[in-house]
C-alpha cells in the first residue's frame, strides 16, 4: 500500500499514465476508422527504432523542440506563458541565415557568430515581450502571438529580398558551409572517412545517411545550465519567486519588472538558439517561404507541459515528441492510416498530463483512508 502511494505520488508516474492513455485513445480512434492499432503502433515503433538512421533522425527532429520546450518551461517557472517561442525560433533562423550567408570566416569564428546571432535575435523577440509586460503591463500572450506573426512575415520578407533570395526557388540561399555544425561533415564523405566507417555498419548508416549534428549536445547542456540557473543560483531564486507569487516577491524587495524582462530575454534566447542550430545543423540550411507556422515553437509548449516544466524532463519529452513525429510518418506509409493520428495522440497525452496532475492528491486520500483502516 505504502509503496503504491509512493509511486503514485511521483510526477513521472502521472506522465507515464498520460502517455499510456495517449496510446489508448489513439487505438480507439484507429479502430473506429477501420485500421488495426497493433499494426499502426508496430509501424510507429519500427519507424523510430528499426534502423540506426531512424534513431538518428529522431534525435535531429527532437533537438529544436527540446530547446523551445526549455524556453517555454523556463518562462513557466517564472510565471510567464511564452506562447511566442515560435516567433523567437523564427527570429533565430532569420538571423542565422542573414549572418551565415553574408559572412564566411573560418568555422571557429563563423559557427559561434552565426549561432550567437540567432540567440541574440531570439532574445530580442523575447525581450520585447518581457519589456512590454514589465513597462506597460501588456499581457505576454498578446504580444507573443503578434510577434509570432511578425516573425513569420519578416522571414518571408527576408527570403524574398534580392540579397538573400535564391533565384527560381521559394527559399533563401543556404548559409556558407563554414557555419555547418554537422558531425565531421567533410571527413565522413571523404575516402578515409568512408573507409573508417564502413566496418561499423551502425555508425556508417547513422553518420552518412543523416545530418548528425552537435545540436543535441548543446540542447542537453542547455537543459543542465537552465536547471542550475533556476535551482542553484540567486538569480534563479528571484525568478522563481516572481513566478510563484509576484506580490510577495515585490514585498521581499525583488524588482519584479526587471526579472520579467530578463526571464523573457533568456526564454527568447533559448528559442532563438533552437532556430540557429536548426539552420547550421540540418539541411537545407536555409529559410523558405512559409504559408503557416512550422510548429517548432508550438511543439515546445507540449514538450514543456509533458515534462512538467522540468528542464531535464524536456530532454526526454522532446525525444518522445521527436520520435512520435518522425515515426508517425511510417504509420501512413505502412498502414495507410492518416499521420494526424499522431497529433491526436500527442494531444491526448497533453490532455491527460493536465488530468493526471490530480493523481498525487488522490494518492494522498488513498493514504489517509489506508491509515484509517489500520486504526
Amino acid at each position: 500500500m505504502k509503496t503504491t502511494v509512493k509511486i503514485l505520488k511521483k510526477p513521472i508516474t502521472s506522465t507515464f499514465i498520460a502517455i499510456l492513455f495517449g496510446f489508448l485513445v489513439a487505438a480507439v480512434v484507429l479502430v473506429f476508422a477501420g485500421y488495426n492499432p497493433w499494426e499502426s503502433f508496430g509501424a510507429l515503433f519500427r519507424g523510430i527504432f528499426a534502423k540506426p538512421k531512424y534513431i538518428s533522425n529522431v534525435i535531429i527532429k527532437a533537438t529544436p523542440i527540446i530547446l523551445t520546450g526549455l524556453s517555454v518551461a523556463f518562462a513557466f517557472k517564472t510565471g510567464l506563458f511564452n506562447i511566442g517561442a515560435e516567433g523567437q525560433y523564427i527570429a533565430g533562423t532569420i538571423a542565422a541565415v542573414c549572418v551565415g550567408v553574408k559572412f564566411d570566416f573560418a568555422p571557429v569564428i563563423q559557427i559561434p557568430l552565426v549561432v550567437l546571432s540567432g540567440v541574440l535575435a531570439g532574445a530580442v523577440f523575447g525581450g520585447i515581450i518581457g519589456c512590454l509586460k514589465a513597462r506597460f503591463g501588456i499581457h505576454e500572450v498578446i504580444t507573443s502571438i503578434m510577434l509570432n506573426w511578425i516573425g513569420l512575415y519578416l522571414s518571408n520578407f527576408i527570403v524574398n529580398t534580392a540579397v538573400y533570395h535564391q533565384p527560381n526557388s521559394t527559399s533563401s540561399f543556404a548559409v556558407n558551409e563554414s557555419s555547418f555544425t554537422m558531425l565531421l561533415p567533410n571527413w565522413k564523405t571523404s575516402k578515409a572517412g568512408m573507409a573508417a566507417l564502413k566496418p561499423h555498419q551502425w555508425l556508417y548508416e547513422m553518420m552518412l545517411k543523416t545530418d548528425v549534428n552537435f545540436g543535441i549536445l548543446v540542447a542537453v547542456i542547455m537543459a543542465l545550465v537552465i536547471w542550475v540557473l533556476l535551482y542553484r543560483s540567486t538569480k534563479g531564486y528571484e525568478l522563481r519567486a516572481v513566478g510563484f507569487n509576484r506580490d510577495a516577491a515585490e514585498f521581499a524587495g525583488i524588482n519584479v519588472g526587471r526579472n520579467i524582462t530578463q526571464a523573457m530575454l533568456i526564454a527568447g534566447a533559448l528559442a532563438g538558439l533552437a532556430g540557429a542550430l536548426a539552420i547550421t545543423g540540418t539541411s537545407p540550411h536555409k529559410i523558405s517561404q512559409m504559408a503557416a507556422f512550422e510548429n517548432n515553437g508550438f511543439n515546445g509548449l507540449s514538450v514543456a507541459l509533458i515534462a512538467g516544466s522540468s528542464p531535464v524532463g524536456c530532454i526526454f519529452a522532446g525525444l518522445l515528441f521527436g520520435g512520435l513525429l518522425y515515426g508517425g510518418q511510417s504509420v501512413q506509409q505502412d498502414v495507410g492510416a492518416p499521420t494526424e493520428i499522431i497529433n491526436i495522440m500527442i494531444g491526448t497525452i497533453v490532455f491527460f498530463v493536465a488530468l493526471t496532475k490530480i493523481v498525487p492528491s488522490l494518492a494522498d486520500r488513498l493514504e489517509k483512508r489506508g491509515a484509517h483502516r489500520v486504526k
Binding site: 480512434v29 476508422a33 506563458f81 506562447i83 512590454l132 506597460f136 503591463g137 501588456i138 499581457h139 500572450v141 498578446i142 504580444t143 502571438i145 503578434m146 510577434l147 509570432n148 506573426w149 511578425i150 512575415y153 519578416l154 518571408n156 520578407f157 524574398n160 504559408a291 503557416a292 507556422f293 508550438f298 509548449l301 507540449s302 507541459l305 492518416p338 494526424e340 493520428i341 499522431i342 497529433n343 491526436i344 495522440m345 500527442i346 494531444g347 491526448t348 497533453v350 490532455f351 498530463v353 493536465a354 488530468l355 496532475k357 490530480i358
Partner: protein, 306 residues
C-alpha cells in the same frame, strides 16, 4: 472613393467575423473563470465540420449548426478537465489545440480520399448580393450573413452578461466563485455551460471561415485565427464589445493591407502583412495598457476553500 471605402469596410467585416465568434467564445468562458486557450482547436474542428457537412448535405445552414455542435462537443473535453477534474486550464486548452486540428485533418483524409482539404462546399448567402445592387456602390459592401450574425451575438452576449440575472451569475462565478456558491449558484454548472457555449461559438467562427470566406476546409484555414481571437479577448478587456472592437481593428488592418497592396504603394507585401500585428501592439501601448482578467480566471473552484 466611396466604393473604395465601402470595399475597405466590407473586407474589414469579412475578416473580423471568424475572429469575433472565436473571441466571444473566449469572453464567455473566461468571464465564468475558465481560461480557454483552445479556441484555435475548436475553430478548426468547426471549420472542417461546416465544410464537410455543407458539402455532403448541400446545406450550408446545416453545416453551420453542425460546426457549432462539433465545437461544443470538443469544448466539453476542456470543461471536464478544467471544471470536474480541476486540471490546469492552460494545459488542457493546449491539448484541445492539438486534438482539434488532429481530428479535423484525420477525418478529412478519411472522407476526402486522403486529401487534407475538403472539396468546395456550398456557402452561406451574402447580403447586398450582386444581382440587386450591381450598379450601386453598395455591392462593394457585399457582406456575408455571418457578419450580421456576429454583431447580433455580441449584442446578445452584452445584454446577457450585463442586463440579466444569469449574466450576473456568470460574472460572479468568474470573480468570486466562493461568494457565488454561498448565494446558491451552482458554480460547476455555470462553468460547464459557459465553456460549452464558448465551444459552440468557436465552432461558428470556424464555420464562418469555411462557409463564407474560403468555401472549403484547408489545413491553413484557421491557422492562428484562434490565437488572434484569444488576443482580442484580452485586448477587449474581457467584454463582448471590447472583443468585437479588437477584432474589427484587426480585420481593418488586414483589409488595409489588401487595399494598399493593390500596387499604389511601393511597400513589399510581406511588410504590409505585418501591419495588423504591429498596429495591435502599438494600440496596446498607446491606449489600452494594463488589462485585468476576471479575478478567478484560470482558478479551479474547490468547494469549501476560501
Amino acid at each position: 472613393m466611396l466604393s473604395k471605402i465601402l470595399l475597405l469596410l466590407g473586407i474589414t467585416l469579412m475578416y473580423s467575423t471568424p475572429l469575433v465568434f472565436g473571441a466571444l467564445g473566449g469572453v464567455i468562458s473566461e468571464r465564468s473563470g475558465v481560461v480557454n486557450i483552445g479556441i484555435e482547436g475548436m475553430m478548426t474542428v468547426g471549420a472542417f465540420t461546416a465544410a464537410a457537412v455543407s458539402y455532403f448535405t448541400g446545406s450550408p445552414w446545416l453545416g453551420l449548426l453542425a460546426a457549432g455542435a462539433a465545437g461544443g462537443l470538443i469544448s466539453l473535453l476542456h470543461a471536464v478537465a478544467s471544471v470536474t477534474f480541476k486540471a490546469d486550464q492552460t494545459i488542457s486548452g493546449i491539448a484541445i489545440n492539438l486534438i482539434g486540428p488532429g481530428l479535423a485533418l484525420f477525418f478529412c483524409r478519411l472522407m476526402f480520399d486522403d486529401a487534407t482539404m475538403t472539396l468546395p462546399a456550398k456557402t452561406l448567402p451574402k447580403l447586398f448580393g450582386e444581382s440587386g445592387f450591381a450598379d450601386s456602390p453598395l455591392k462593394n459592401l457585399n457582406v456575408d450573413v455571418t457578419v450580421v450574425l456576429a454583431l447580433a451575438v455580441s449584442a446578445v452576449m452584452w445584454f446577457f452578461l450585463y442586463r440579466t440575472k444569469w449574466g450576473l451569475h456568470v460574472r460572479s462565478v468568474g470573480e468570486h466563485p466562493a461568494a457565488a456558491d454561498t448565494l446558491g449558484i451552482h458554480v460547476s454548472r455555470v462553468r460547464y455551460l459557459c465553456v460549452f457555449v464558448s465551444g459552440v461559438l468557436a465552432g461558428f467562427g470556424g464555420a464562418s471561415m469555411t462557409l463564407a470566406i474560403i468555401s472549403q476546409f484547408t489545413p491553413t484555414a484557421i491557422s492562428g485565427q484562434g490565437f488572434i481571437a484569444l488576443a482580442a479577448v484580452i485586448f477587449g478587456k474581457w467584454t463582448p464589445f471590447g472583443a468585437y472592437g479588437a477584432c474589427l481593428l484587426f480585420g481593418f488592418a488586414q483589409a488595409l493591407t489588401i487595399v494598399l497592396g493593390g500596387g499604389d504603394f511601393a511597400v513589399p507585401s510581406q511588410i504590409l502583412a505585418m501591419l495588423p500585428y504591429i498596429l495591435t501592439i502599438v494600440v496596446l501601448i498607446l491606449f489600452v495598457g494594463r488589462s485585468v482578467a476576471p479575478k478567478a480566471d484560470g482558478e479551479p473552484y474547490e468547494k469549501g476553500v476560501r
